[in-house]
């Protein structure tokens, strides 16, 4: 892909499709919410939702499932974005689920709250009486996600049954459900990581500066660079170094890989992604747990 030229005609088609999905969600569900993590995919979702309903405001709230293990800047960015676009913001804390005894903190060096988010998310859906959670999941991210629908049905336990999904034909989406059931909707299903970056560049979408190069304390584990935070346990062989890095994805700090990079502009990032030979989830510790790690988490109700 060294001779990769940027092809942008397809971005318009992906945008048209995603806006269509956003409007179907608003029309078919009574109380949807957009799952906002502060990462680039959810920032793109907010941008698409603004376009879909312009000049009206986005007709649903943003919801953040907060693990408490965040980059400070993500939270600041989130609050500013909600204020700037006049969005209602709901925040639900994994810590609350732990305090209530519903979720149990993982132990050991690879401890992460990523999986615990499922408990908090399912409670939030019930408490807020949501019937659709809009996510930034993309089919190119992971092989279990490749089987995901735009409108993905969840039973009254929040579970996904991948072997018995509703067929989706043309652009007719069936969001009908019984009491207690809900849907997950994925407007950017057909986008790849590179599409997302090219779109951000074209639309001049503001991102947290974590996505650009910066000095950070990092350490290497299983071939992946991880951001260091005071609550993280190190193995005896691991050392913290101060290096030029940027985040390729942003999520819970304990399982977000960083890339050694000096890319400081969107042009440089797009060029870097186009030349990259490793998928973005290759840097996510949560997916390395087993071959079907994502499938198992999704069945239980993960994003």
């Amino acid at each position: 892909m060294s001779d990769f030229k940027i092809n942008t005609n397809h971005l318009k088609l992906l945008e048209d499709e995603a806006i269509f999905i956003m409007r179907e969600i608003a029309a078919q569900f009574e109380k949807p919410a957009l799952l906002f993590s502060g990462g680039k995919d959810s920032i793109v979702l907010v941008h698409l939702a603004r376009k879909a309903f312009w000049p009206a405001k986005i007709p649903f709230p943003l919801m953040h499932i907060d693990t408490g293990h965040n980059f400070d800047e993500t939270i600041e960015f989130r609050d500013n974005l909600a204020k700037e676009f006049g969005c209602e913001l709901i925040v639900k804390y994994v810590q609350d689920s732990i305090n209530q005894g519903k979720a149990i903190e993982e132990k050991g060096v690879n401890a992460s709250r990523n999986k615990l988010q499922t408990v908090t998310l399912l409670d939030a859906i019930e408490d807020e009486k949501l019937d659709c959670a809009i996510g930034g999941g993309r089919r190119d991210e992971e092989k279990a996600r490749a089987k995901e629908r735009f409108f993905s049905h969840r039973d009254d336990f929040g579970q996904w049954d991948p072997k018995n999904q509703r067929p989706e034909l043309w652009n007719i989406f069936n969001g009908r459900k019984n009491m207690g059931e809900h849907f997950r909707a994925f407007p950017i299903s057909n986008w790849t990581e590179l599409d997302v970056w090219q779109y951000i560049m074209y639309e001049k979408i503001k991102l947290p500066s974590l996505y650009y190069t910066h000095k950070r304390k990092v350490f290497e584990r299983d071939g992946t660079w991880l951001a260091w935070a005071p609550f993280m346990e190190l193995k005896p062989t691991e050392t913290v170094q101060n290096l030029d890095v940027r985040c390729r994805t942003i999520g819970d700090i304990t399982c977000t890989g960083v890339t050694l990079s000096t890319a400081n502009t969107l042009d440089e990032i797009v060029a870097e992604i186009a030349a990259s030979r490793i998928t973005e989830r290759g840097g996510r510790a949560d997916d390395k747990r087993s071959e079907a790690a994502m499938e198992d988490r999704k069945k239980e109700g993960y994003f």
Partner: protein, 421 residues
């Protein structure tokens, strides 16, 4: 997003093949040779192949996403794959060839422009090839590409390819399809997939990837055929946009211009397009596929499920019509039963009043003895709706010519239909 060139930068295709035709291998090969496979994905499948005792990397492992699929070595459901070349972005709807083939292939093809059908060079055209070709034709693919695969197992023989070529041409006389391409390939070794084959020098045509990069799929954007199903009504009720009332939707077919005379269905009221809104950009026109918001000159009562169309060319307002129906559900079709019918953004109650003909899609002959419609069957049926809907022939417009049926009790999508006149 202005200044985007009109030619299509995105091609959606679906793949169909029987078990062991090497479909997953072909997709793996396309991804691998176009350098769309990442190192961590390759490491992962190399390791799995080794663990299973395979000497070569099994490229089919790239597409099998669910645990049950990897364990059983089968593909359960439609999976979507992505790759790009400098010329186009591709979305592959990879559909399994054996279980629930009709349901999955119809689903995969419904959003595709091109169907790639695999034929094993050793076996030639078999029953399943007939089925796949028929479905591709039924779903009105703009191009059908036949890949005669496993040419390595027939010594790259031109004579064998010519025989199969003749079989395919005979089949097409019965099915009828537009824009046919036939290519000899070996997915396993990469012949004619991305790179031109040294073993198949006698073949003068394009490689598969070259064809996928260059086939023409653009609409002719004739404004006569514009259809605009209203998805959502936008009323900001803010100080800045106090009187704004916009109709949001995605234009399905043709082209529209500001000033066009339009008719709103079902009310039949007429108006003119006052403006086409796109996130603060003023536009004078929109073409098929664009997600836009339309404002009209007159204040008319319009809601979701209505359709805005050019006054010079109205669709049929029908209370009873025929569709080619593909049945998807384990529970067979119940004649005289009620189903919820979805047509673009509109939803109505419907009754399946009659099965006219049931087709045996393996022989393409009419099945006269039995009219029971079970999962994966295809039949011409008559549907009656509680209130009239605005339809076109599927071949004229895939959006205004398609429907799905939903079971009222389970909410499952039980069938898909294409309007035929």
């Amino acid at each position: 997003m202005e200044n985007i060139k009109p030619e299509i930068g995105l091609l959606r295709f679906t793949t169909a093949g029987s078990v062991d035709d090497g479909k997953s291998t072909l997709i793996g090969r396309l991804l691998y040779d176009s350098k769309s496979i990442f190192e961590d994905q390759l490491d992962n499948i190399t390791e799995t192949s080794k663990r299973k005792g395979n000497d070569e990397v099994d490229l089919s492992l790239l597409t099998d996403g669910l645990r049950a699929e990897r364990e059983q070595g089968i593909t359960i459901d439609v999976a979507y794959r992505y790759f790009s070349t400098p010329n186009r972005k591709f979305i592959i709807a990879d559909t399994p060839g054996h279980i629930q083939y009709t349901r999955n292939m119809v689903t995969g093809a419904s959003t595709a422009d091109v169907a790639v059908i695999l034929i094993d060079a050793r076996n030639g055209v078999i029953e399943q090839s007939i089925r796949h070709t028929f479905i591709a034709s039924l779903l009105d693919m703009k191009h059908i590409i036949f890949c005669v695969n496993k040419m390595d197992l027939v010594d790259f023989s031109q004579a064998r390819f010519d025989e199969i070529n003749k079989e395919i041409r005979e089949l097409l006389e019965k099915v009828g399809a537009k824009n046919i391409h036939i290519i000899p390939i070996s997915a396993k070794f990469g012949d004619n997939v991305v790179d031109k084959s040294e073993n198949l020098k006698w073949f003068n045509g394009s490689t598969l990837l070259n064809l996928l990069e260059t086939v023409r799929i653009a609409d002719d954007y004739n404004s006569k055929y514009a259809r605009f199903p209203v998805q959502y009504v936008i009323r900001p009720q803010s100080d800045d946009y106090h009187d704004f009332r916009g109709y949001a939707g995605r234009l399905a077919g043709g082209k529209i211009f500001v000033g066009d005379k339009i008719t709103v269905l079902p009310s039949m009221l007429t108006s003119k397009i006052k403006s086409i809104e796109d996130f603060g950009n003023e536009r004078y026109d929109a073409k098929s596929g664009d997600s836009i918001t339309i404002c009209l000159e007159d204040d008319i009562d319009i809601s979701r499920g209505n359709m805005i169309v050019p006054s010079e060319n109205l669709p049929d307002l029908a209370k009873e019509f025929n569709v080619m129906l593909c049945w998807f559900n384990e529970k067979p079709l119940q004649i005289k039963s009620k189903y919820i019918l979805r047509h673009s953004t509109n939803e109505v109650k419907s009754i399946l009043s009659e099965v006219n003909t049931k087709l045996n899609i393996n022989t393409l002959e009419e099945d006269t003895d039995k009219k029971e419609i079970k999962m994966n069957d295809i039949a011409n049926v008559t549907i009656k709706v509680a209130s009239p809907i605005f339809i076109d022939d599927y071949k004229l417009n895939h959006v205004s010519g398609s429907i799905i049926l939903i079971d009222e009790a389970t909410n499952e999508t039980v069938a898909a239909g294409m309007v035929v006149k």
